[in-house]
Amino acid sequence: MTAALTKSTAHSIVEASPRAKMVAGGLVILYAVITILPLVWIVATAFKSQSDAIAYPPKVIFEPTLEGFVNLFTVRTRQTPDFIAKLPPPETWYDKLVRQRDMVIAGPSKVVPRFVNSLIIGFGSTFLAVFLGTLAAYAFSRFRIPLANDLLFFILSTRMMPPVAVAIPIYLMYRQLNLTDTRLGMILLYTAVNVSLAVWLLKGFIDEIPREYEEAALVDGYTRLQALRKVVLPQAVTGIAATAIFCLIFSWNEYAFAVLLTSGEAQTMPPFIPFIIGEGGQDWPAVAAATTLFVVPIVLFTVLLRKHLLRGITFGAVRK
C-alpha cells in the first residue's frame, strides 16, 4: 500500500510516467498511421490491376502487376483479337501484357517529358530562390540598408494574398511576354513566390551566425564574397537545406498556376496526373503509378537533407 502510494505520488518534472509515455507513444503511432495510410494505399493501387483497384470490398491482398505503370508510360489502341492474333509475337514483356487486354502499344505517353518539366522547374526555381534569398538575406542581416524593415515587409507582403488572386494579371502579363507554357516562365514564377520565404527564413539563420566570423576572414585576406562563400555559407548550410526543402515542396506540388499557365510544352506533373484518368476509362492504377513516381524525388531530397531539416526547424529557437 505504502509502496504503491509512493510510486503513484513520486513525480519527476523531467521524466514522464510510464503511462504518459504509453499514451504519447500510442498517439504518435496513430498519427503516423493516419498520415502514411493514404500514401500506402496509393503505392498499393499502383501495383493493382484495374479490376482489383475498383473492387468492393477493397482488396488488401492482391496479385501485383505492372499494368498501371505500363499504361502510364504508353499510349495504346484497342484492336480485335483477330488482328492481334495476326501480329508477329510480342517482343517485350509489356507488349505481351497489353495484348492480353486486346490492345497494342501505339507509342510512348507524355509522362516522361512532363516529369522532366517538373524536375527542371522544381529544382531550377528552388535553386534560384535559395541563391537569391541567401544573397538578399545576407545583405539584410549585415549591412545598414535604408528602409530595411519596410523592404522586408514588402517582400513578405507578396505572400499575403492567395496566389489565385494574382492569377489573372499574371496570365495576362505572361501572354504579353510570351512566357505562357514555357519552363522559364514557370521557373521565374515559382522563384518569385519562393524568394520571399527564402529571404525571411535565411535572414533568421544568418542573423544567428556571429559577424565576427566573416570579419575575421575579411581581416585575414578574403573579399566580402569569398568570406560569404567560405565562412558564412558552411555555417548556414542547415538553414539553406531547410529553406530549399520548403521551396521545393511548394514548386513541386503547385497546381493552380500550373493548370492556368501550362498546357503542353511546359506542363508539370500536378496538372498532368488528372489527365491520365481520361485516357481509356478510369485508369486508377496508372494514376496511382504516376503519383507514386511523383513523390519519389521529394522524398529522396528530404531524406538526403533530413538531418539538416530537423536541426533547421529548431535552429534559433533556443539561445545557446
Binding site: R144, E212, A216, A217, V219, D220, G221, T223, V231, P234
Partner: protein
C-alpha cells in the same frame, strides 16, 4: 611592425556620433590600450583602424601610408575578437592556418608556420582538436595564433579576455604581455577593464563619449588624471571629489576650502572664483583627530591587507583606503587628513584638471 596614426577620426551612425575627432599616434612596437566605458567609441575606433568600418571623416595612417579607405585585407593587420570567432567547421590547425590559406600559401609552408606558431603559444598538442572542445583560455590562444601566424604589421584586440573567467583572465594577461615582449608587434588593445589596461599597456588612451580624454603612461593616467572623468573611471574605489567654491592664483600652495585652508601642490594657473573640486585618492587619506575635514564612519569593507572605510562628511561620502590594522568603529567621528602632494584640482564646469606642480602636464586628447 608599424606605427599607427589616427588623425581627426570621426564616425557617425545616423544621428549618433560614435567617435568625435580622435587624434593619436601609436608607436611602432607599443602596447597601446584604449580604455573606457561601453559605448565610448573605443571599439568603433579599433574597427576603423582594422577597416571593418569606414570613418565619416579623418585619416588613418599605417607607417605613414594612408589606409583610411583601404579594404581590411589590404592593411596587413590582425584582429582578435572578444568571441574568438574560431571557425566551427575547422579544427585548430586549420583555424590557425586560415589566414595563410587566404593568401594562397603552399600547403607545406602553411603546415610549418602553423607548427611554429603553435609552439610559441604552447598549443601544439591541440592542433588536431575541434575548436568546440577547447577551454576558454585555449580558444583564446588559438585566436591569437590565427592572428600571429601571418606576422602582421599590427594586432588589434577587441576585449580579447572579456569572455574568460577571472582566473583565466589574469593568466592570459601576463601571457599576452609576455607574447608581446617576445614578438614586439604593435598592439592596440581595447578594454573596459582598467586593471587589464594598467597591467599590460605601455600607453593608455582613456575614452569617453567618442572623445579621447587622456593619453599617457598608466602611472600618469592614475596619478595625474586630466579630467574628472578619468579620475573617476580609473582607480577602485575611484577618486573622491570634494566640491568648493574659490578663486585660484598661480604660485599658491594652499586653497581656501570652505572655512579652512588645505595644502595642495603649487598651483600653476590663475582662476576666477568658480565651482572647483578637490580630488583625493582613497589611499591618500588617513585618520587624524586634528584634521579640519571631519565626518562619521559609515561603513568598512575588509580587503585583507587594506580596508575601504567610507566616511559621511559635510562634503559628501568619502572613501579612504586604510591599513587593515587601523581600528574603525561604525558611527565614530573622525578627522580626515590628505597627503597634500598627491591632491588634484578640477574645474567642475569643464571637468578638466587645473595645472599644478604635479598635474596638468599630461597631454590632452
Amino acid at each position: 611592425m608599424a606605427q599607427i596614426r589616427v588623425e581627426n577620426l570621426r564616425k557617425s551612425f545616423d544621428q549618433f556620433a560614435a567617435v568625435q575627432g580622435s587624434n593619436f599616434t601609436i608607436d611602432d612596437g607599443a602596447f597601446f590600450a584604449m580604455l573606457g566605458p561601453s559605448g565610448c567609441g573605443k571599439t568603433t575606433t579599433l574597427r576603423m583602424i582594422a577597416g571593418l568600418e569606414l570613418p565619416t571623416e579623418g585619416k588613418i595612417l599605417l607607417d605613414s601610408e594612408d589606409v583610411t579607405f583601404q579594404r581590411a585585407s589590404a592593411r596587413d593587420i590582425a584582429f582578435v575578437f572578444q568571441l574568438f570567432a574560431l571557425y566551427p567547421h575547422m579544427n585548430v590547425a586549420e583555424n590557425i592556418g586560415f589566414p595563410l590559406k587566404c593568401q594562397g600559401m603552399a600547403r607545406r609552408d602553411i603546415h610549418q608556420r602553423v607548427q611554429e606558431t603553435a609552439k610559441l603559444l604552447r598549443i601544439e598538442h591541440l592542433l588536431s582538436s575541434k575548436t568546440s572542445k577547447l577551454s576558454g583560455g585555449d580558444r583564446q590562444r588559438v585566436a591569437l595564433g590565427r592572428a600571429m601566424v601571418r606576422r602582421p604589421k599590427a594586432f588589434l584586440m577587441d576585449e580579447p579576455l572579456g569572455a574568460l573567467d577571472s582566473e583565466f583572465r589574469h593568466l592570459m594577461c601576463s601571457e599576452l604581455r609576455d607574447l608581446h615582449d617576445r614578438i614586439g608587434a604593435t598592439t592596440v588593445y581595447v578594454t573596459h577593464d582598467q586593471l587589464e589596461a594598467m597591467s599590460m599597456a605601455d600607453r593608455i588612451a582613456v575614452m569617453n563619449q567618442g572623445r579621447v580624454e587622456q593619453i599617457g603612461l598608466p602611472q600618469e593616467i592614475y596619478d595625474r588624471p586630466a579630467s574628472m572623468f578619468v579620475a573617476d573611471f580609473i582607480g577602485s574605489p575611484p577618486m573622491n571629489f570634494l566640491r568648493f567654491e574659490a578663486g585660484l592664483r598661480s604660485g599658491d600652495r594652499t586653497i581656501s576650502f570652505h572655512d579652512t585652508s588645505i595644502a595642495v601642490p603649487e598651483i600653476r594657473e590663475d582662476r576666477a572664483s568658480a565651482g572647483m573640486a578637490l580630488g583625493v585618492r582613497p589611499e591618500h587619506i588617513r585618520f587624524a583627530d586634528a584634521a579640519p575635514v571631519r565626518g562619521e564612519v559609515f561603513g568598512a569593507e575588509y580587503l585583507g591587507t587594506t580596508q575601504i572605510v567610507t566616511v559621511d562628511t559635510a562634503h559628501g561620502r568619502i572613501a579612504a583606503r586604510l591599513p587593515s590594522s587601523t581600528p574603525v568603529r561604525i558611527g565614530e567621528r573622525v578627522g580626515l587628513e590628505f597627503r597634500s602632494e598627491r591632491l588634484a584640482l578640477f574645474d567642475v564646469a569643464s571637468g578638466l584638471a587645473i595645472r599644478t606642480a604635479t598635474a596638468g602636464s599630461a597631454d590632452h586628447g
